[in-house]
Symmetry: C2
Subunit: 458 residues, 2 copies
């Protein structure tokens, strides 16, 4: 029990608390490595997650270790950063305190909230258990498990139906063949419905995550698993992508959305635009008035910011994001800044709120590091300006769409750009190298070798 | 619902059911790829697991994907194998039926039981929840989570103690400093005990798994995490390895056990031989009459075979293994064979039961494939004979012990042999290559980058 306080008592330096080790919080903390400040970085996970590739863990192409890096390893040599794995319950802005779920408190001189977002279930939080979203490694492993287990269940169902039909046919051969056939047909009817339900996947939300998930699941069913089952035919799998808007990838120009739709259709995905989900049950989903039976419903629609923001008592937008000024700070509490998916920040150019994407969070983290460093010297810097370098989304093996300024790309070229940029931004050399090798291998062989069901309770 | 029965009705070929896709079952099924037989391989997991490297997943050096391969992928092109992911509840030997936990049944002509073993808790099954063992990927991820989370908890404990001590000191400065100091000391006392408990690891069982776990945990605490915490000093971690016998690695010559003990001591492990565990509680373990407080107790002692064997009604040994004849079959049911960790098979040379190691299971699977292929032609083959190629265990980075015939090795040379042989036997080229690269990288940099806590519920 010898370690000193934080910041060290005689350092005379201020205490910056950063909540969240995502793109925004991580960038900020790293850029402040030479600033005269002590940082406490609080995250509920023990790792930074490269979220743009998370769907590849969910669809068994990459391992968690390829896209996640322990925060402690990242900050090992940066001695002004202390990492704590915990959850923040409340921010007591008036007392400059952060209260953890345990009830313990930390005081701060400067606070940056970079807590990201969770999926929004359109005021139906009860849908979440039936339609898991994809934000954390635990989410991705849960979805991977669900996808893989559903094919196992379907195979088992058919194997048993065949087995018991034989047994029954054998037993019944002597006396009541017609009756037995009748009940076998009834059973076959039930099993067919069950089988259809197991082999139907519904993905709600036609943004980048929904498009990537739908494309990958179709590839798994129609290519990866093709020859691996003896009873079911994975090729009969239905993958349905549901989008409320009139085209996919609403954040992109309509032409790219159309291009994505065509590519998905070639992969065997049913794309349903202008379709509203009315209800999500345990084994089905209502799209308008139509019931689609499905044991595999995944959610990739809408975001809502972390609930801890509501404890600030400042203005939040409809998505629960804190409205920040052009310097990313709160007007009531200039010592508190909010960045990334947690912030509602108006773009100086378009006058619209900035989207919840990694480049925005990274640039805001960079800006804030300059602003805080300047403040420590009693100086000021200008407002935050987002530089839009373009955006991209991948659809399947060798297919993507990209927008760079006024240029639009689709197909293989966009995919190569996408791959290059994503590998480039991966944290840590080893991961970058391993992911590149894996991608090349998987592109050539079209295999997904991380198809592991690792949980006991199946 | 179109797929036919298994075996196909008009094939006229017999049905071989193999329970378990470990080393024995997998080897057998692969070797029978050209035999006129239809195989159903039932496993509770969807993957084959390279168990000798499982402790490296538990200690964050390898990802699950590196040491596991989907059974379906392995048998994709072997059309006489059907894989079913399920659990067997009972074998109804009299009716040649296998009953699953769901109540569904399959008939067989020939049955091979290769269900492996779980850890034995010496008639104290209630100890398992406090001292998890290491047999499956789920086990390994649970142990990894526990190891990593305990350091996070310890860091949090100290950070909060420091924070609240400051807050309290500030508040109390005016009136009652001495009282505050008193209560701070009381709290510090409680926290010190809690901290010690968190940073004490106890591994029960000095066989290869226990030695590997103890060595790896000591390396994590004393090297990997060394500079990553700001409050706790991971170097103060205690790692205690408990063994009932008078030296470690009882299956090896005493000199190698001594050598392993010395290496472990250099790594900072306390080795306690001739020590019997009397009780395992939630937060401590009794070794004889001494209570050691520990939040991290792991079990690597004793094996007990799968409970499904008890449904056979044949003779089992003290470890629950089915006693087989020299042709690996049951005397009561010549159509049932038992191999690997599930079998009690007497070595023709030594007259002692063969140990539960991978080479025994593999050689038994090979033998049985020849025996079954011969039977299908109405022929017979001789008895099973185990060829002991030697055995080895690794202790830490660059240290191992090995026995080949009458030769004994230890240190770097043994480790190189160990590495080479283990990579050689890994299923699938990609895994072999990736594991080799990772090992080289991790050997050079001494890092463990798979230190991920992936579960929500921490």
């Amino acid at each position: 029990m010898s370690a000193g306080s934080w910041p060290p008592k005689d350092s005379g330096k201020p205490h910056l608390v950063i909540i969240g080790g995502g793109f925004g919080g991580l960038t900020l903390a790293r850029k402040l490595r030479r600033a005269p400040v002590y940082i406490t970085l609080i995250d509920k996970a023990n790792h930074h997650l490269f979220q743009p590739l998370l769907y590849q863990v969910a669809t068994a192409s990459l391992s968690p270790g390829h896209i996640a890096m322990p925060l402690r390893a990242i900050f090992r040599s940066q001695k002004n950063v202390r990492v704590l794995m915990n959850r923040v319950a409340e921010i007591v802005a008036g007392e400059k305190k952060v209260r953890l779920v345990s009830g313990d408190e930390f005081t701060y001189d400067r606070l940056v909230i970079a807590t990201g977002a969770r999926h929004s279930y359109f005021a139906h939080p009860e849908w979440e258990k039936n339609a898991p979203g994809l934000k954390s490694l635990a989410d991705a492993l849960r979805i991977r498990q669900k996808i893989l287990a559903t094919f196992e269940r379907a195979e088992m169902l058919l194997a048993v139906a065949q087995g018991s039909a034989e047994v029954r046919a054998g037993k019944d051969a002597i006396d009541a063949r017609s009756v037995a056939q009748g009940s076998a047909e009834v059973r076959a009817g039930t099993d067919t419905a069950e089988l259809k339900k197991l082999l139907t996947f519904v993905i709600v939300g036609g943004g980048p995550t929904g498009v990537e998930l739908a494309g990958s699941i179709a590839e798994i069913a129609h290519h990866t698993l093709r020859k691996e089952f003896r009873s079911i035919d994975p090729h009969t799998t239905r993958v349905i992508l549901v989008e409320g808007g009139d085209h996919l990838l609403m954040a992109f120009p309509g032409a790219l959305g159309k291009s994505a739709e065509e590519t998905l259709k070639k992969l065997g995905v049913e794309v349903r635009t202008k379709s509203i989900v009315k209800n999500v049950m345990y084994d089905g989903v209502y799209i308008g008035d139509e019931l689609i039976s499905s044991a595999n419903i995944f959610w990739a629609a809408g975001n809502t910011a972390s609930t801890v923001l509501s404890t600030l008592g400042t203005r939040l937008d409809a998505a629960g994001r804190a409205v920040v000024g052009s310097d990313l700070s709160l007007s009531e509490y200039p010592e508190i800044s909010v960045i990334g998916d947690a912030a509602h920040c108006v773009d100086h150019a378009s006058g619209k709120p900035l989207p919840g994407v990694a480049p925005v969070a990274i640039q805001q983290g960079q800006y804030l590091s300059r602003k805080i460093a300047a403040e420590l010297k009693g100086k000021k810097i200008g407002d935050f300006r987002y530089w839009d370098k373009g955006s991209m989304a991948t659809i399947g093996r060798g297919r993507a769409v990209a927008k760079v300024g006024k240029l639009q790309f689709s197909g293989m070229l966009a995919w190569l750009m996408w791959s290059f940029i994503h590998v480039l931004y991966l944290v840590g050399f080893r991961n970058r190298f391993a992911v590149m090798v894996l991608w090349m291998y998987s592109y050539i062989t079209n295999s997904r070798t991380v198809r592991l069901i690792t949980s006991d309770d199946l």
